[in-house]
Amino acid sequence: MNQKKSHPRKPNTGMRGVKYMILSVGLTSILGFWGLFSRQAAAAGLVNPSSSGNNNTLYLQPSGSNFIVLPAVPTLVPQGAPGSSQGGVPFNFNQAPQSSFGFFQNGSSFGQFNRPSPFATTRSSR
């Protein structure tokens, strides 16, 4: 009888090796980059934004001792108006800045914003 001799298939060990290698490299790469980014993120302090209720300054509080202070936009003063925050200096509502045309002089406060200080005063001759 002419029987065909069946031979059990030998596993393709070459291909299997390549697959294992690809998988290993992939996993290593993912874990490696994850770890790397984690360390960089911690170093840069990009964590836990919080705000202070005392003034209009928004703090981005890092884990380290140095922290970044961003000037916040004053929400109660129209932009461009005398006394609005400029140059990273928070606006202090209790301290009226001077202006070239007399507004906000003599310690006027936010509540008097629409009632400026007089530019001139009428009085009996003096």
Partner: protein
């Protein structure tokens, strides 16, 4: 951008404001004190060498006067006509008689001493000369004036109002302008941003205080009163607002009157008118004047105002 200039002139504190982006605005504003100095040299009765003093010394003689003198003289005549003689440029002798003999800046020391300023205490004859008595002749063509020998001129508030108005007109070429001549304020119009000029009304009872804030566009504002320029002659308090009907400082219950009118010359005339007439007649007169609104502060502290005065108040 609002430029501001403060200086002293005519015995008063002056303020000039100019809202302009022009590079020449500040330069122009710096000229304002120079203009006032020139006008004071013509119009002051306290300067021996002024044109007014020269004219008064030469009473009885015909004299040709300068353009500035002529303008203010004509304005004084018009003011007397419109006020029915209540505001007269011929009150100088009465002022001197009451003790107002020198610039008010030099008076306080004498006030404290209760001096009568060295002038005799003799009373006037109880009347003030008016233009109707032909005590002044003038010729418009030659700008010449001849005072009767016993007549003397004092332009007073008319000169200050004219100066504020004239300075404002010279500034307004460059932008919205405000000129405050010792409380008489001329304003050319709203500021460049469309907002009115904020003008305070001084509290006559409290130095440095303010009773109200006005919003002012093109108009004139003036305050007249007996609260500041007053002095003691003997045991009697005197002030600088003469009632021509009596020849003496006006007996009035109005401590100060603030008027808003078309221009500062009209406002100054109306303010003085109301003080001399007193609160009852003054307010009655005021209600008959179209375009003039006012606030009266009385000696007893009460405040009265004309019907539409609140339109000018800053809410």
């Amino acid at each position: 951008m609002i430029h501001k200039k403060q200086f002293k002139a005519m015995g008063c504190q002056m303020v000039a404001g100019l809202d302009s982006k022009s590079k020449r605005a500040a330069e122009r504003l710096a000229q304002v004190p120079v203009w006032f100095e020139e006008w004071e040299a013509v119009l002051s009765r306290f300067r021996e060498d002024s044109e007014l003093s020269r004219v008064n010394r030469s009473a009885g003689l015909e004299q040709t006067v300068s353009s500035v003198f002529w303008q203010v003289f004509q304005l004084a005549l018009e003011t007397e006509r419109r006020s029915g003689g209540i505001i007269s440029p011929l009150v100088l002798d009465a002022l001197l008689q009451a003790g107002y003999t020198q610039s008010f800046e030099t008076l306080p020391a004498r006030m404290a001493a209760g001096s009568a300023m060295g002038y005799p205490a003799a009373a006037l004859d109880g009347r003030i000369h008016t233009m109707d008595e032909a005590l002044i002749d003038w010729d418009g063509a030659s700008h010449s004036i001849r005072l009767a020998p016993d007549a003397h001129l004092d332009f007073g508030g008319v000169a200050k109002g004219w100066a504020a108005h004239t300075a404002m007109r010279k500034l307004e070429i460059y932008g919205s302008a405000l000129v405050d001549a010792g409380g008489d304020i001329a304003i050319s119009g709203l500021q460049a941003n469309g907002q009115p000029w904020p003008v305070g009304i001084a509290d006559p009872f409290q130095e440095g205080g303010q009773v109200d804030l006005l919003k002012a566009g093109r108009c004139g504002i003036a305050t007249s009163g007996t609260d500041f320029r007053r002095w003691k002659q003997g045991k009697i308090w005197q002030h600088h607002i003469i009632d021509p009907r009596t020849g003496n400082p006006a007996k009035t219950d109005v401590l100060s009157a603030t008027l808003v009118a078309t221009d500062v010359i009209e406002a100054e005339m109306a303010a003085k008118m109301v003080v001399i007439l007193g609160s009852r007649d003054g307010l009655s007169w005021l209600e008959d004047q179209p375009g003039i609104e006012g606030l009266l502060i009385l000696e007893n502290g009460n405040k009265l105002n004309s019907r539409k005065f609140s339109n000018y108040l800053w809410e």
